[in-house]
Symmetry: none
Subunit: 211 residues, 4 copies
């Protein structure tokens, strides 16, 4: 009499265990035995549910990417449609969501980034994610800057996001999400047209007044 709905329980459980293991000992030493022991199950079950270790790793990466994507989307949905500054802030905020700054997640991210160079499947996932960030930024920037300039600024913001994240990943204090926001806000202040910035300031005042 098979239990139904087990996959829905086991899969997230094993994905979380994978991140715990990577956090604790690194990807290289995160064996199926280690991972499954974190989940409190038998190593054989990984093959059962993910067809092998590679499958599990891929799903773990996908899981993180899904969370990132959802975080950005949620924040964007709360924004005014035409306040470019607010929307870019939302995109940045999604990338520095507390969930993404958890040590488990950071180490897994970094491990996969390095790994992606040599595993086509991970590489593809990573590329999609990377392009999505640029795409999100471009949608906003194109509205207030000429195309080439928008592209230049988008690349810069993306670089700032990834650079702050990368440097923070190695820091004993972890990543400082607020500093990230300040750095990028400062950057936008100097790159965006004054109307765009003015509009943003107005909206912010209005919001505060309403609360």
């Amino acid at each position: 009499m098979p239990k139904v709905g087990m996959p829905a329980i086991r899969k997230p459980q094993l994905i979380d265990a994978t991140m715990q293991a990577i956090n604790a000992v690194g990807l290289q030493k995160a064996s199926v035995v280690t991972i499954s022991s974190y989940a409190g199950v038998s190593p054989a079950i990984i093959n059962h549910y993910f067809g092998g270790k590679d499958g599990l790793l891929e799903e773990t990466m996908r899981s993180i990417l899904r969370q990132l994507s959802a975080g950005v989307r949620q924040r964007l949905d709360l924004c005014t449609k035409d306040d470019v500054v607010e929307r870019i802030t939302a995109i940045v905020g999604g990338n520095f969501d507390p969930v993404q700054l958890d040590s488990k997640v950071i180490k897994t991210w970094l491990a996969f980034w390095s790994q992606a160079m040599h595993q086509p499947q991970l590489y593809r996932l990573q590329r999609v994610n990377e392009k999505r960030l640029i795409s999100h930024l471009m949608i906003e920037l194109k509205r207030v800057l000429p195309y080439e300039r928008a592209k230049f600024v988008a690349l810069s913001i993306a670089a700032l996001i990834d650079g702050i994240w990368l440097r923070g990943s190695l820091s004993p204090n972890g990543i400082d999400g607020q500093l990230a926001q300040r750095i990028i806000a400062d950057y936008l202040e100097k790159q965006l047209p004054s109307e765009t910035l003015a509009l943003h300031r107005q909206r912010q005042l209005l919001k505060r007044a309403l609360l």
Copy 2:
């Protein structure tokens, strides 16, 4: 009398082979057999010269860091003492030196960055390097900006450098060093006092006139 002076030949040879192997198959699959086969020698020799695989990996990291450091120092030595923009450009240039942009070196860097989280020795090396970049930038920025502002800008530039580098590492086209310089020049243009920028422009004109 035996053959002498082999260490001076073998050590760089094995370090280069290590980077080749990491480039080709990734750190995880870069076994001593793989590495030594790239060097055309026996695997046992790694233990002979480096005391083990870990020793070789550490020396490889050190080698890259030394090259990076040397690249920056050389460029700084060619600069005018008081042209802050030129000096920062030199620091950035060192970080985007063609040697550092070689696929071999990029992948090794990234692999070690990820690995550093779980190996104290690599971690220490990485931290030293990270702090040195900030330190180099601070020396220049402190001269033209208030301390707190200098720190803020230094972190931003460091983030831009690492971010561009990280994003480029994953790009099929590799890292675009010139774009990096343009992005950072643009950033400086907006952050530094106008006198500083003016001085720089004057010097550049003078230089071109002399050639």
Copy 3:
């Protein structure tokens, strides 16, 4: 449900294979491959059940010591409580039990004795065993001899046991258990008080009469 209860089968099987291997090629050449091939299983299983080669060797030593200890205890349980000669004969008999005189066991003993000098865990086991022999002998001898004399005789008997055993180990004919008993009986004849010996003779006559 998986196969269960394998440890109870595999562990003694591997311990026996270890002794076979030591008997055949010596401890130095008894690799995990050799040992596991005697057991007809994969080398990896040694790590599975004993955590490594050292664990297996230690368990093998323990197994021999247990058998020795059990052999002595069984024989003592069959003895009259107050017949010192009979009881010492039992102790000696346990040390020259056919199981202990098997070539496999002798060579393993000797290999471990030599090894014990450099492995704390084996050393401890060996010392415990050594002291237990003296302790068993002392319990009997103290009842019929002054303390100091008892100690002297106990050391002598222990030396005779180990000496005969050691010399026999190297002999092509193996160890002669009966000769050992004769030598030690002769020694006791000259060391123990005449009442003790008389009592023993009486009991022996009685026993034979009963059969």
Copy 4:
């Protein structure tokens, strides 16, 4: 221009280094590198002088046996021809000579004893030595005991010697040569004819009187 007489220097030097290495880390871990480092020379030299590691080990064993043999012969040469007790005491004394009780020598002995089971050359050496002890004892004992009894006593004494030695080898306090002499003297006291013992006592008194 080859140096002459080097073998006479190098060979004992390497044999001593071998014993040092065995004393320090055990036979199993006494590699040619370890041994040659104790001698302060290159590992390759072992092959040069002994044709390989096995040759060195065999020569080391031979060296110990030679010393043992010489120790016994020297002591016998100092004895009265017809004092059996004195002569047996000399034989025992040779076996417990301070040189033979050195930790280095004990551990090497034991290692070789165990090893001898599986190396014909070492086995032969060991057997010769073993028989020589019995032979020395028999020469004396035959003069005062019937043949069969002499054999029995010779075996007993040999067992006592080896037993005390073996047990002492494992003891943290090492081997107690004086205790060995007392145990064997006590044994002889009870096994030899009274005339033999009387003669010995007379000679001893005479000797002391002369000094």
